[in-house]
Amino acid sequence: MISFQPSEEQGQIIDMVRRFAADIVRPNARDCEEDKAIPDDLLAKFWELGLIANSIPEDCGGYGFERSAVTGALISEELAYGDLALALAMLSPTLFAYPILEMGTEEQKKKYLPGFCGETFKFATSALMEARVTFDPTDVKAQARREGAEYVLNGEKCLVPFADRADLFLVFAATAPGTGAPGIEGYIVEKGTEGLQVGEREKYMGLNALPLYRVALAECKVPLENRLGGPGGCDFQRILNLSRISWTAMATGVCNATKDYAANYAKERVQFGEPIASRQAIAFMLADMAIETDAMRFLAWKAAWLADRREDCTREAYLAKLYAGEYAARITDNGVQVLGGHGYIREHPVELWFRNGRGIEIIDGLAIV
């Protein structure tokens, strides 16, 4: 049955996250960007919403609601409407928790998931991206080789959120080069493990509020049971798909924020004796922003809906993110354009959204639904 109506329960979650994004996220976004840091009390306030514990089973300490990629997409969009960097930061514990929840062995779930149901924000992360021009998530250069009762990890990762504070890392590495997604597995590396080296904090065009680090693995040894999913391994393609869905949903949030901000500005900004929104040149840009933002949202929903049905959504998730990357860059660019010179000034958020929006096309991982 075709429907574009979120369930009543999802509606309540949307309302809650939307309020949080308006009251807490957006008002702090600029300061966090300029300070290049997120105060702990913001993360604590997000933690109080209980969104992550919601989807963790009761026997692991959570609230045991059904985990849904569609719900995850709805949350991702609303948070990113507030700010993309803060959304990524607040949801960063899911980078570790959700793959364990979906694909972990019983022991892994029992051992790690209760940590995400506590009172305080749980710093945990994952490491996928690598700093090279031709990086592709299905062709990672980080290697895992088995030696007796251990896996030995080697490689260099970039764009690892909160690597300075994370207790737990999920590191993606290939058992043999060039085998694509099926050859990539996740390895649980605890903080302090020998050979896990947290490097310099990275500097990017945008997303400055989010602490992103280089992480090196030098003969880093983890026990066999630390492989995500145990001997059977994980479904890395699915992790990648869930990540692409999240990015598409977050892109939708950024674009929707841009569209709303630009529309309000255009209605107030008077030139030639009337609001600039009264001119088709501006109004039509806004119309296109609205059309593409909605399309992006539904592409995320469609892929998420397939993922929830446990159907292969590789194609849909990839196309959704391809679309989101392309249009988010265009829409956030137009956001600056509608505001003209004022859009270029850091007093307005559109320049920040332009810089953040540019990352959407490029980054894989770093978010998951």
Partner: protein, 403 residues
């Protein structure tokens, strides 16, 4: 509950339409592109099927009215006529959009009658092929400025004026004509009337030679002192001070725009599927998942177009779903048509280029699809009109605030 599964009844519609498109439309698509203004006898069998379907649809509400009304849960969604039509149109258009328009009984006028006619009128005009006559030589996008008149004389309306670009104007049995009953009332004076083609004073004066959708005729019709019964008016004859009457006529567009969008979608899908197939025969690969710098230029172009097709379909489905569930969808209907009209044209044009001289050649249908698809960005409101509708809704602006 967010859901994208076609219910069984819609799957049947889709399969049926696809079968007709593949087995009947495609094989004769080129023939009627070359032989413009020839009626395609091969699709005559569709007439009774369409009539049957619309009569089933007419009977349905009556049956429901007899049954005690069950309270509908908020999450329970209706799949109605619009969704069913957009799903069907995508498939038929995948076969041939011109032939879809030429299916007897499938005219825009039929959609208008279904939307606003009284039960008595529905019975009277059942089984008739109804065209829609809005555009005039001096009134295109500004359909509020039409000058065809309807004057009440005793028990009859007298219609005078000239209509152009009437889709199926030659082939149809009846025409839904937009005319003003009071020019001084502006838009409020515009009403629609059902005019039987065989009334004295109705003359088809011209058949257009078009760039595409040639299987469907496009006619000019002159109405000269044409007398029709008083109750051939659709909706109320009363002229209200505001523009309510006109808004009523305009409301049909909320239902037809997603359908036009689905026609663009069907044609573009045909072109992209065909293009991919031919490129694959030449050794091109299309892989889902690679980083930008590892994709080939053509591979990337095709994948981006695929994502556009998905986006078009979802915007169309959303507008149709809203319409079927009684939600105001003027903005969403325009969004779907703006997107589908524009991207349909773009995709089909790019496909021509991707196949080089073979794409441009009339040996294959790709060049025809590019010609056929363009109209969807024009009729039922041009791209720019759709953007106006979207922008006004988005900004909360009146016509005066955003011209």
């Amino acid at each position: 509950m967010i859901d994208f599964e076609l219910p069984p009844a819609l799957k049947m519609v889709k399969d049926f339409a696809h079968g007709v498109a593949r087995d009947t439309f495609r094989p004769i698509a080129r023939k009627y592109d070359e032989e413009e203004h020839t009626t395609a006898e091969e699709i005559a069998f569709m007439g009774p099927i369409m009539a049957q379907r619309s009569s089933e649809r007419r009977k349905k509400p009556k049956k429901d009215a007899d049954e005690p009304k069950k309270p509908r849960a908020e999450t329970e969604d209706r799949i109605g006529a619009i969704m069913s039509t957009v799903v069907g149109s995508e498939e038929f258009s995948w076969g041939d959009a011109g032939l879809l328009l030429a299916i007897p009984g499938n005219g825009l006028g039929n959609a208008a009658i279904a939307a606003v006619a009284t039960p008595e009128q529905e019975e009277r005009f059942a089984g008739k092929f109804a065209a829609m006559a809005i555009t005039e030589p001096g009134s295109g996008s500004d359909s509020g400025s039409i000058s065809t008149t309807a004057v009440l004389d005793g028990d009859e309306w007298v219609i005078n004026g000239e209509k152009i670009f009437v889709t199926d104007g030659k082939q149809c049995d009846i025409v839904v004509v937009w005319a003003t009953v009071d020019k001084s009332a502006g838009k409020a004076g515009i009403k629609s009337f059902v005019v039987e083609k065989d009334r004295p004073g109705v003359t088809v004066t011209k058949l257009e030679h078009k760039m595409g959708i040639r299987a469907s005729d496009t006619a000019s019709i002159v109405f000269e002192d044409v007398r029709i019964p008083k109750d051939n008016i659709l909706g109320s004859p009363e002229v209200k001070t505001k523009t309510e009457g006109f808004k009523g006529v305009m409301k049909t567009f909320d239902n037809t725009r997603p359908i036009v969008g689905s026609m663009a979608l069907g044609i573009a899908r045909a072109a992209l599927e065909f293009t991919k197939e031919k490129l694959e025969e030449e050794g091109f690969q299309f892989r889902y998942g690679l980083n930008k710098c590892r994709l080939g230029a053509i591979e990337r172009e095709v994948l981006v177009m695929e994502s556009e097709l998905e986006a078009m379909r979802l915007l169309i489905w959303r507008a149709a779903w809203m319409g079927d569930n009684g939600r105001a969808n003027a903005m969403e209907a325009s969004m779907s048509k703006a997107k589908a009209g524009r991207m349909g044209s773009e995709i089909t044009r790019r496909c021509v280029a991707l196949l080089g001289p073979m794409g441009y050649s009339r040996e294959w249908l790709v060049e025809k699809w590019a010609r056929d698809c363009k109209i969807n960005d024009i009729y039922e409101g041009t791209q720019q009109i759709q953007q106006l509708v979207v922008a006004r809704n988005l900004l909360g602006y009146s016509r005066a605030q955003l011209k």
